[in-house]
Point group: C2
Chain length 291, copies 2
Amino acid sequence: MPDVRLRDFSEDHSALALNTATLGHNMDGCGAGWSPEQVIDACAERGYGAITWWRREIGQRAMEIGERTRAAGMQVSGLCRSPFLVGPLAPRTRQGVLDDFFGSIEMASDLGASCLTICVGGVVEDTHSIRDSLKEVATIVAEAAPVAQAAGVRLALEPLNPVYGGNRSCLVTVRDAVDMCDAIDHPALALAIDVYHVWWDTTLGAELKRAGAGRIAGYHLCDWLADTQDVLLDRGMMGEGVADLKDIRGAVEGAGYTGFCEVEIFSAGNWWKRDPAEVLDICVERFRTVC
Amino acid sequence: MPDVRLRDFSEDHSALALNTATLGHNMDGCGAGWSPEQVIDACAERGYGAITWWRREIGQRAMEIGERTRAAGMQVSGLCRSPFLVGPLAPRTRQGVLDDFFGSIEMASDLGASCLTICVGGVVEDTHSIRDSLKEVATIVAEAAPVAQAAGVRLALEPLNPVYGGNRSCLVTVRDAVDMCDAIDHPALALAIDVYHVWWDTTLGAELKRAGAGRIAGYHLCDWLADTQDVLLDRGMMGEGVADLKDIRGAVEGAGYTGFCEVEIFSAGNWWKRDPAEVLDICVERFRTVC
């Protein structure tokens, strides 16, 4: 058990946020296809405290959707996400990366989102070097940080599970993410901590203490399935897997974090196939009991 | 580049070892099905310095195959492997684990293998705790260490990539492996460092220095493919992927390691389908040029 007194969610889930990827809204053709309005109404009805949206849902309606979220009594906890900044999945030129990055910052600002999630992208082609790739990432993030600050948006650097190191994120540990924050040293820059990506890391508590509460912009919930069938689209609902959810939250809250806990479950074969209303109900129940 | 003067393999590959998994010999029905004698002759012909075998190839012929390997001028660099010690893939009882573990130690001893690789197994069912699982692992390893010492075999604890944390290995970082060695503190206990499992870890050099040369029993080569299709059976040949092979070897040799470099490539869709003679030739060429 963690050595910090955890917030008690057993009878209060106002700290619960929905990341709409939990309903499949991060990918074309997945999920039940609810409109933002349907999502807002369903979350408000169930007492969620916030929603994090994906760019593909927002289109040209950022201000409208942000206002509607707040009018329903919730906050916009975040926007997913920046483009990949480097590596095989990034736009082909640095200018292309920056244009899309700045566009995502503007959308987050229009939404009134607390932060924009950054997935930094994989190892830079032909470098064979995760270190050199991280250096390249840092130059891009440093260029975007003042733009984000001017827009009133925090950049949430998200270290991803090392399984994604090759193509989706050369930033794979909280330690490296804290080091990058320290090196860039800009107030717009913070971290997003996701159970899926950090559940295995026994240094999590120490690294987050090093980061400090001011540097944690988000905490994401799901579970790691012992026998995962797909490392991108087979995340588990909280309680289904092997992650020590209370210990991980202890690390996050032990560093001083008091913000939302955002459920983000990519699950093409299971949760995305269910009725979104059922999924939202189960998230509430699991949040109150096992998180 | 690493800050250590690397051994020069460009015209001398006597430090090269073959792990027979590179020919598919770790799984039924994979590879060309060469006999141990064919493997020995082909490796000796090409100047390999050692071979690491899998238990399923050895059957009742451990002494014979060990002697034949040495008669061909090579060493037996290792035996793969212990049973999983805990988690969903381990034998169902502790006694079942120990019986199979001790059997594998005896086989390694009969082979004259330098070490027995240990894959510790995933998170213990219903614990939801990687920490508690590691503690359970440590009690089993501590019980086996004196048995291994009496048999003249070193136990090579292999931290696996965090993607295997749920089912194959709750030991996922070199840091945790060094901590476990320190805690058990037995001379029969050491580490195996595999590029596939550690390529993403920017703390590798520091952790291996903490371990010390005497604690490194093996170094395994392959590459991490940026767009890997299968996290178990789609490893790359050295040079095909994103791992910084010289930097990683710098970390291993910087800690004082002077032993074999063992090629271990699980590749159901590519390398296992090729003529083993071609695979062995390419391993030599890549070892001399990119490792």
